[in-house]
Amino acid sequence: MTGPMIALSALLSHWARHRVQAALLLIGLALATALLTGVQAINAEARASYDRAASALSQDKLPRLVAERITVADYVALRRAGWPVSPVIEGEALIGGQTLRLIGIEPLTLPSGVAPDIGLAGDPTGFLTGKVILSAEALNDPRVRPAELPPGVALTDIGVAAGILGPEISYLLLTGDRPAPPGYALIHPATTDLSQLTESFHLNLAAFGYLAFGVGLFIVHSAIGLAFEQRRGMFRTLRALGLSARALTGLLLAELLVFALVAGAAGVVLGWLIAGALLPDVAATLRGLYGAEVGSGLTLRPVWWLSGLGIAVLGMLASAGQSLWRLGRLPVLAPAQPRAWGRESARAMRGQALAGVGLIGAAAGLLAVRGLWAGFGVLAGLLLGGALMLPLLMAALTRAGQRLPDTWARLDAGDVFINEQLALRRGLAPGDRVEQGVIAGIYPDYGNPMPQVILSWDRHRALYPLPVLRYALITDIPAAEIRAAFPRVVVEDRAAIRKASVAVFERTFAVTAALNVLTLGVAALAMFASLLTLSSRRLPQVAPVWAMGLTRGRLAQLEFLRTLALAALIYGLALPLGLALAWVLLAVVNVEAFGWRLPMLLFPGDWLRLGMLSLLAAGLAAALPVHRLARIAPAELLKVFAHER
């Protein structure tokens, strides 16, 4: 073996004698990598589905003409009048035992560049003569041919669709930028862009992934900090025996790289498993919220290996950066200056606090910036800033919620209400004017991605003398009774919609709850790793007290109480930080992501429960280090006096 390899083997020999520590390091980095790559895999899979949908169903990007009812005769009349329109019949249909979104197109009139190549090139006659239904799903129907389509979608000739769904045309695709013909309304394609609609959802997931990654890195940071602390003597011996500071730093980097690659590989596989487990819930959520179809299958792609390993290496470097920096600055004569490492630690802590102040300042500055990324920037700044400067109390962040005034009377007088989404997009306030009238009020519109205006019936008729597409009445008569009495009336059962919405949100929260549990698990490990590190660093303070006559058992009790007191103190400081984060989520991130704001409600009872849980978690995490202190060999404590640590 060469010199550097000899030195590296000496560095690595530490881990063979400290296997729990090595496991913590690997588990922390693997979990951090897994959660981030898992979330990225979910997002990538969903975006790939949108891309497939966009390329295969590019008619979704064309303007559509809609009317109360479009018959074949209406379509023919428009064509004869020179309108470049193409009919589409679309609806849900049971094909091969599965309910699919069946889209019937008319390939001959479909605008150029829109007609999907799939199937038409392979078997154009089959498609045109209505023998073929294209779908990505494996269906038990002889007409179905496999095609690169989004999941849950089937594409066929309009004749086949008419046979299944009925002859009424759902909408007409319109080529070119022209106004709607009389009797029709024009819907522009931007409203159906899945990527835009779902972007905030994916950004939220990604933020969760990064949060979990950050928490995981705390474990790695602790484990590395402990390993550097324990090997301080070895480092200075290596330096004294002829290893330069640069060579030692290089070898430690090589060692960390080995760990990063092992943990990264494990993290990628774990992330793939997590993504596979969560993807069905995510798909259900996206379908429920946005009507976006996402496949539930997941393949372990080569690019994940690369990105996962890259993430692990970067995470490792970020976690070890402080320790490496301190090592580089530590004088080679550390044996003659036993407090050198401690002084360097104190300097680093002051630097951290300053960085924390800077981060919180930057987060406050970002509040003035619009945009979802800025919102997440605020979150990250507060989280990291708070973690770096625990002693500083968070400034109270409160803001009075907007209230919708009781101005129904003004609606009758011709004023309008606008939803929060429109107000935020255009920066409007009550008293401002929109095309439809003066704004009397702004109403919260939870869950709606679209800007919307409510105006009186008379005002609507005056402004839009278009044929009415749909009348609606709101009633509290049970839906079943109306359906029985008026079979042709379309009944929207609000209770059923609410039930379905709740189900969708339950699934949404199933995803976040799963990520939450994983993140909390990682956080618990982080706390355990930190306490293990602290217990080792505390020995020089504990040993003299032991020498003065306090038993190891009593010392362990005091350490346990100290840990609980520390946990209570941190809980007290974390609570206002958590409230500030919640406020940012509700008043900044949610507004930017969805366009509406949720009221901030406070639950003091939950705080109490959380406090008890924090103490319990701290107690459990401290159990092993305290147990070890109670049973530590006196020889270990004596080493402190012999300066052998």
């Binding site: 000899i6 004698r17 003597g233 002829g242």
Partner: protein, 216 residues
């Protein structure tokens, strides 16, 4: 083998600049042994660290084996690997390596590992029964024997020892001292040893005393 010319070293303190070495000059020939004595805080360890390239003088010139001490950390580290061997009061063994690996460590780092010479050292230092043990399982005397073996296994031209028996009782210290002097003589290395003990110092070829930053 070792030459110091008008070497000065000082430190900044809360009471101003403290001069530790004030124009120290000395030389040590190959195969010669020299004891450096002095009171606590007289600058003995500082002088030893300067000779090992662990620290740099404020002024003056240090040469080891005919070469001036390098300015960079890498050059000084190369000197410690190739020419100089250090024996510490605190032993400074690598705790996660067993005795056999610790013994071979510096020779391997220097690229001069010789299994037969190491076997001779094991026999001379009576470490045969301890090879698979870890440092924490050894007594102070046993650890210092391993530390001496580690240094001499690399056949350094200059051995710098900082109170090598300072942590040992008198009997163990005498035994370790005898072994070290015997092995240094066998390898033909020069030895500069810092010690408090006039009795131990008397066993070396020459003695110099450091007082007020100057040699007497």
């Amino acid at each position: 083998m070792l030459s110091l010319t008008d070497v000065c070293k000082g430190y900044a303190s809360s009471e101003g600049r403290v001069t530790v070495l004030d124009g120290v000059s000395l030389s040590l020939a190959a195969g010669e042994t020299l004891a450096l004595t002095g009171e606590s805080g007289s600058g003995k360890s500082t002088l030893l660290h300067l000779c090992a390239g662990l620290d740099a003088p404020d002024s003056g010139r240090i040469e080891v084996a005919g070469h001036p001490m390098g300015r960079s950390d890498a050059e000084r580290a190369a000197l410690r690997r190739g020419t100089v061997g250090l024996v510490f009061q605190q032993f400074n063994l690598i705790p996660s390596l067993d005795v056999a690996a610790n013994l071979a460590f510096q020779a391997r780092l220097a690229g001069r590992h010789d299994p037969r010479w190491q076997a001779d050292l094991v026999a001379t230092l009576d470490l045969g029964s301890l090879l698979v043990r870890y440092p924490e399982e050894l007594s102070g005397g046993q650890q210092q024997r391993v530390a001496i073996g580690r240094t001499l296994a690399a056949r350094p031209a200059l051995v710098l020892a900082d109170e090598p028996t300072g942590n040992l009782d008198e009997a163990s210290g005498d035994r370790v001292m005898a072994l070290m002097l015997r092995l240094v003589a066998e390898t033909g290395a020069a030895l500069l040893m810092v010690t408090h003990s006039p009795r131990l110092a008397a066993r070396l070829d020459r003695q110099v005393h450091l007082r007020g930053g100057r040699l007497t």
